[in-house]
């Protein structure tokens, strides 16, 4: 079998690039749907708002956790 010429190799590489682009586009579409679902679940409009909400919730949960531990200590079930 004849070895592929440089040009044929270039054509193959470009085909692979096209395939990769198609794959990426499919993945982006899927991610878009998932992100949209997440934003709906979080009841926010943008990704920035979602990130902000996550940060706020993290702080709030840490605070509540501290309160629960403090209360557990008060009632004597945690030393």
């Amino acid at each position: 079998m004849n070895e592929k010429s440089e040009f044929e190799k270039l054509v193959d590489s470009l085909s692979k690039v096209e395939e990769r682009i198609t794959l990426c586009k499919g993945q982006i579409k899927e991610l878009d749907t998932q992100i949209k679902d997440l934003l709906e679940e979080m009841k926010v409009e943008t990704v920035e708002e979602a990130k902000e909400k996550i940060e706020k919730l993290t702080l709030k949960i840490t605070e509540v956790e501290k309160e629960v531990i403090e209360e557990a200590r008060k009632v004597g079930i945690l030393e």
């Binding site: 054509v11 990769r20 982006i28 878009d32 079930i77």
Partner: protein, 353 residues
């Protein structure tokens, strides 16, 4: 359920009976082996070993669990551990199948070298307390939280017995009394504990925090998909750079030119074929011409002969007709002569005109 331990640290052989829904507390003096039983069970569950894991004299450890689900055996020696269920060795198993051996069970195991007990294994669906507690506090919590009357009972009876050792057996009896005293003391102290409502409320809050944390973890994980999307978009942008676009156009142009070239080659081939056909035809025409030239004189002669022959035929026909006419003329004259001899017809006797 029966749990048997042999050859583990100070325990030569010990058997504990636990009825369904029962929590068994093992209490006693220091260094009598109560923690060793807990560790042996933990080793059975997790296949773990401490530095003084195997008794120097006994060398082999065996933990047996007999329940209505079958007989499970765990053997551990210097060379490793094996699990057996009803005399069948479980292959590729490096710890006891918990849900099979201890369905719906949990253990409080003493933390190594301290007076702290932690729930080591709790089956799915059970509440796990994420903090360390002393034995008495642990019992208090279980009494408060486990609402089913079956589970809520704390056995005041120590059922661990160490066989073949009368002195230890005597100690066990003493420990039984100690356990009863501890239990009574516990019940007394229990009255001073916070109310069930407060604990239930605390439990609810813990559960809520856990749920919120899980949700937050899920969200945090999902929001990372934005980064994945950006990375993919960046990749596409890189693929769509002007250099690659130029390369793509160039390749398309080369492919088009190659196709054109192929078509032109095909046309040339066709032209060659036509040229060859033309030459063949010219040759044939030349041959025909020379043939005609060669035979044209003969053809002319043949034509002339043909014309002469036609003329000869006509003349011959004409002579023939003229001869016939002459003959008929003579015959007519003869008949006319003969007629003159007759006035009447010899056949019908009618007068001739």
């Amino acid at each position: 359920m029966k749990i048997g331990v042999s050859g583990y640290q100070s325990i030569k052989q010990a058997v504990i009976n636990i009825d369904d829904g029962e929590i068994v507390g093992i209490t006693g003096d220091n260094a009598v082996g109560k923690s060793a039983i807990g560790r042996a069970i933990k080793a059975f569950i997790c296949n773990t070993a401490g530095k003084d894991f195997i008794n120097v004299d006994l060398k082999k450890v065996r933990v047996l669990v007999q329940s209505d689900r079958g007989l499970y055996r765990w053997d551990r020696s210097d060379s490793g551990a094996t699990y057996t269920k009803n005399d069948t060795t479980l292959s590729k198993v490096n710890r006891a199948p918990l849900e099979d051996v201890f369905p719906g069970s949990g253990f409080l195991v003493e933390k190594e070298g301290s007076d702290i007990w932690v729930p080591s294994v709790i089956s799915e669906g059970e509440q796990i307390f994420p903090f360390n507690v002393t034995p008495s506090i642990a019992f208090k919590i279980f009494s408060k939280f486990i609402s089913s009357p079956k589970i809520g009972v704390i056995s005041k009876e120590v059922r661990a017995t160490i066989k073949e050792d009368k002195a230890t057996l005597e100690k066990t009896r003493i420990r039984l009394n100690v356990a009863e005293q501890e239990y009574s003391s516990l019940i007394r102290r229990q009255l001073e504990l916070p109310s069930r409502e407060i604990l239930v409320n605390l439990k609810e809050r813990i559960v809520n925090v856990k749920m919120a944390k899980l949700k937050l973890e899920r969200w945090t994980e999902s929001i990372k998909k934005v980064d994945s999307k950006n990375s993919l978009e960046k990749e596409i942008t890189e693929f769509s750079s002007p250099e690659i676009e130029r390369l793509r156009d160039g390749v398309a142009a080369v492919v088009t030119k190659k196709l054109e070239l192929k078509e032109i080659k095909a046309l040339f081939q066709k032209m060659d074929f036509i040229g060859m056909s033309k030459k063949t035809l010219e040759k044939e025409v030349e041959e025909e011409r020379s043939f005609l030239e060669k035979y044209s004189e003969k053809i002319k002669k043949i034509k002339r002969y043909k014309e002469l022959l036609q003329r000869a035929v006509v003349l011959w026909e004409r002579n023939k007709v003229e001869g016939k006419l002459n003959e008929l003329g003579r015959e007519k004259e003869l008949l006319l002569e003969r007629r003159k001899q007759f006035k009447f017809c010899p056949y019908c006797n009618q007068e001739l005109l």
